[in-house]
Amino acid sequence: MRFDDTIVAVSSPPGRSQRGLIRLSGPRTRHILESLTGQSLPPPRTLAACRLREPHLPVLLAHFRGPASYSGQDMAEMQLPGNAALLDRLLHRVIDAGARPAEPGEFTFRAFAAGKMDLTEAEGVAATIAAASDSQLRAAAMLRRGRLGRWAEQVVDQLANHLALVEAGIDFTDQESVVPITPGRLDEVLSDLHAEIERLLSKALTWAALEALPRVVLVGLPSAGKSTLFNALLGRRRAVVSDIPGTTRDVLCEPLQLEGHGEVMLVDMAGLDDPLEALDRDVQQLARNAIEQADLIINVLDATRRDTPTHPGLTVYTKIDLNPRSAPGEYIGDDGQPAICICAPTGRGLAELRRAIAAELADRSVSFSGDTLALQPRHESALRSALEHLNAARSLLGTQRDAHAIAQVELVAQALRSALDELAGLGGRISPDQVIGRVFATFCVGK
């Protein structure tokens, strides 16, 4: 694992959010911020208003000096209006300035590696990483199944076939049957692929597509059991229950499949319970925003206490196993409103809750199985890098279009290989062995 580069990720939930949050961690953090703002930074650990040069917009910026930061490294957070297009643009600027998109759970992993958490928390950290990775894999799987994925597979397939032709002209030149591709022909193909990718980028959906999902927000007092319920509904550990301060300083947001009733976005604000120094007021504002934008609020109440629901919506009593008076399933609460009693560890009452959510949102939840899914920033940046590699290959070919064989063929191959690697997340990874396989399928080679 590497810690000497700088990673970046959008930390706020995709979709309708009043605030967007971009986090950075790594040695180049301050350098990147200075290049974005074009001015010297405010003192660490203060939330200051700054103006970015490109995209030209005001942000709230806080930076932290390592090791006194969450990840133990230099870190920063930039808050901006929660507009998906703006977030995307800023993310790309940060990547251009030298950061790399974080792997799922990588901030937490860095915090652990820096000794910010002890070993007893390792399991929780692993769970966070696993959950983040799962959701990314699932998003990738949905992407691959969708129209975008099919498109990307075709591009990857074309590119791999032509890399195979180029490689055949390197590794099998001692074979008569191998007819290497000419520079002119390859340039034509690459030109088409280039145009294809550019066309896609120009009409790519952004995260705004995710706004189509109705938002179901869990609301309740600290330790009412929101995170436990959140995980139980998702059927896996997504939220870290043994709350490590700062791990979830934002709302958690996960698509939740309601069997036969489409999908909703489940929002947990457990992380907002902890007042956090500089960002405190802002965090509370974020919580209020999330509640305002909710399509359905679930009041999560501790069955062992005498709490009452604070918002209109569904009411759920948790920890009924600790309260002998209550029984699972629906019941009428003390306030006379219907409520659902659940015991998250055993799963009792969860089915009822799912049904109730589906009923409340009848006809409003949508299914993801269709054609649309937003192009994630990492995919967009991968497509842009692929374009650069295609350009590099084309500039090598540019001067030799009429030649019979490709000059500097090993450099052309290198560029195509790099482009193919960039597209792996979208269209599937093509191993060198698969490229060789395509050579064997095309040409009769061998002693």
Partner: protein
């Protein structure tokens, strides 16, 4: 520039040579430190490397093989090198191996493949006199007086407390501290020519049966592979005048840094050079093959089903079936020796019955009256699925047991030799209690080969291609010594003479760079119009003379500079993971949060480093973080 990228095992205590008195063998024998089983290209290299490393101490190495006169034999095409393979021969040479030396001494046609392309993809190749090649390998091995060559079948491996401590021969037990197993195609070897099946690993030689059974008993998962060889023809019966001539390079370039160059005043003792020839199959031959496919062991089920042959080296019947629309396939006719009339038919490897082979050969233009000296055959043999070794070549199951060559599912002399060399080095390091070494993917094709073997599930005999190397621009024939000779010196396989040659070359390189800097020629040399003649002229003015191979290296480094920098950064990024060791025999199911797919892969492959783990199919970066977390927890 190329620090060792391999991870290392934790050190262990050095082993003292085993006292015969303590051995459990019925008849105490003099102890060997290393026993190499097999005398092919892997075995010869392993014995050579181990003997060289142990020479100063006078510690003994044994090479045990079925027939001593067959050590170093070229069972298939008598050629060394080629695309990607030539780079490997240069690497073997840079590490003090013997393949390059033997090839230079016995080559009868030298040719650099892809000579018109960039230096990274040029592959030196030569045809050898196959008898002289084997004799030269045997001669070189006999120059090592701490190496005993023993002719005997190995019946069993001696394994005590999970360690391999010797071999059992029919009449005695030989004990050793480490054993290198190189069985080639001999483990339960079965040859096919039409319906005729003969047990054995090579024509005229029997199989090795005992070792296969012992490996199975020790719990190894064995697979079965197939390869083939074409008929050999009598030269005097071929009408060469009607065929296209394929000459070698006008100025042959040797593989080895130790082969004297003409400018040294004592030119290289080059054998007389021969031509190759090319002819072609045609539809009449293809039709005859198609009509007799039911008699082809490859298609009628006679060859063990699921026993896979190489896609890059298909038999002629395979070519005719798979490329039905091709009306002609080339056949290179290559001389096998200066002293005999044998001609190798490169392109028509086959296991068809002899009457079809007769028909095929006699319908090849120029071969109408050709006499077949030996018919082609296919051979199937047992291999050990390579996820059971580490990239050091030591098995994960039995300490002190090293596997190299076709037993690991590879094909090719060069691939075998590279593994043998590494096995010899690590066998000695093992018995000395030193950390075992790996070669990184960025250091050598041998490193790419080993890493691919231990992180991928092979579907066919593994052959090296330049496109398998992501750092292809760095892994060149021209800079093999710069990449590896210092390592070989550290490991003890590079002797003083080779070290002196290397240092001399490095001094010349430094002088060239000083000159280029002083004359502000950096930009000039990176330009595409500058080649070897231009650079030589430029340097001559400053009184610097250097081999073409050095000039090629200087030019390549300059012209690839931007790409090499990018590779270096990538290598740096991966370095930490490469050196983070993972435990052996670890149950990854016990790690919470790991996805099932990743867990299954990790449990099967038991990667030795986090870097290897990351290259397993189905293991993603998040899985690596989770493993890393679990390991830090484990070590706490």
């Amino acid at each position: 520039m190329y620090p060792p990228g391999g991870g290392r095992f934790t050190g262990r205590l050095p082993k003292s040579p085993q006292s015969p008195a303590l051995g459990s063998s019925p008849m105490p024998q003099p102890a060997y430190r290393v026993i190499v089983i097999g005398g092919g290209h892997a075995g010869a290299e392993a014995a050579w490397a181990a003997a060289n490393m142990l020479r100063d101490e006078g510690d003994k190495v044994a090479l045990v093989t079925l027939r001593l006169d067959r050590v170093g034999v070229m069972s298939c095409n008598p050629a060394i090198g080629g695309l990607a393979k030539g780079q490997m021969v240069r690497e073997i040479d840079a590490l003090g191996g013997l393949m390059g030396l033997a090839a230079d001494a016995t080559g009868i046609q030298f040719k650099v493949l892809n000579a018109s392309k960039g230096p990274a993809v040029r592959g030196p190749r030569c045809q050898c006199d196959k008898y002289r090649y084997a004799a030269e390998v045997q001669r070189l091995l006999r120059t090592r007086d701490n190496l005993d060559l023993i002719e005997a079948p190995v019946e069993d491996l001696l394994v005590e407390h999970g360690q391999c401590v010797g071999v059992i021969l029919p009449d005695r037990t030989l004990r050793a501290d480490a054993v290198v197993l190189t069985t080639g195609t001999f483990m339960r070897g079965l040859m096919h020519t039409g319906p005729k099946q003969t047990e054995g690993g090579r024509v005229g030689e029997g199989p090795s049966v005992g070792i296969s059974a012992s490996l199975r008993r020790l719990g190894f998962d064995l697979g079965r592979l197939k390869t083939g060889t074409p008929p050999r023809l009598a030269a005097e019966s071929i009408d060469f005048a009607s065929l296209q001539r394929m000459p070698g390079d006008e100025t042959p370039a040797p593989f080895s840094d130790m082969t004297p160059k003409p400018r040294d005043g004592h030119p290289w003792a080059l054998l007389p050079q021969l031509d190759c020839w090319v002819t072609h199959t045609h539809e009449a031959i293809h039709e005859q093959i198609r009509a007799n496919l039911d008699r082809a062991p490859l298609f009628n089920g006679q060859i063990t089903p699921g026993c896979v042959g190489p896609r890059y080296c298909p038999s002629i019947e395979d070519k005719v079936v798979r490329f039905a629309d091709k009306t002609s396939h080339h056949v290179f006719l290559e001389p096998e020796s200066l002293d005999t009339n044998e001609i190798y038919c490169n392109g028509i490897s086959t296991s068809l019955p002899t009457d079809i082979q007769d028909y095929m050969v006699h319908h090849l233009p120029g071969c109408e009256r050709a006499k077949i000296l030996r018919y082609g055959y296919a051979v199937e043999y047992d291999m050990v699925r390579p996820h059971q070794i580490d990239a050091t070549t030591m098995t994960k199951r039995i300490e002190g047991l090293f596997l190299a060559g076709q037993i690991n599912g590879t094909s090719g002399y060069e691939e075998a030799a590279g593994q043998g060399l590494l096995a010899g080095i690590n066998a000695v390091r093992y018995l000395r209690g030193e950390s075992l070494v790996r070669l990184g993917r960025e250091q050598a094709y041998i490193g790419v080969l080993m890493d691919d073997l231990v992180t991928k599930t092979p579907v066919e005999p593994y052959r090296m291609f330049t496109s398998r190397a992501e750092h292809r621009l760095v892994l060149r024939a021209d800079n093999a010594d710069q990449r590896l000779t210092e390592l070989g010196r550290e490991w003890g396989t590079v002797d003083d003479a080779r070290w002196a040659v290397y240092q001399d070359k490095q001094r010349t390189i430094r002088r060239i760079h000083e000159h280029l800097d002083a004359q502000r020629l950096r930009k000039w040399i990176a330009g595409p119009q500058v080649g070897v003649p231009e650079l030589r002229r430029q340097l001559a003015g400053a009184g610097i003379t250097a081999d073409d191979s050095l000039l090629i290296r200087v030019l390549a480094d300059a012209q690839y500079a931007g790409y090499i920098d990018r590779h270096q950064r990538q290598i740096e990024r991966l370095r930490a993971a490469e050196s983070q060791p993972l435990p052996t025999n670890h149950d990854y199911a016990a790690i919470p949060g790991l996805r099932t797919e990743a867990m299954l892969q990790l449990n099967r492959f038991q990667p030795a480093t986090l870097g290897q783990a990351g290259r397993l199919e189905g293991v993603n970066p998040a899985d690596l973080m989770i493993i890393s977390l679990a390991m830090s927890r484990r070590s706490a």
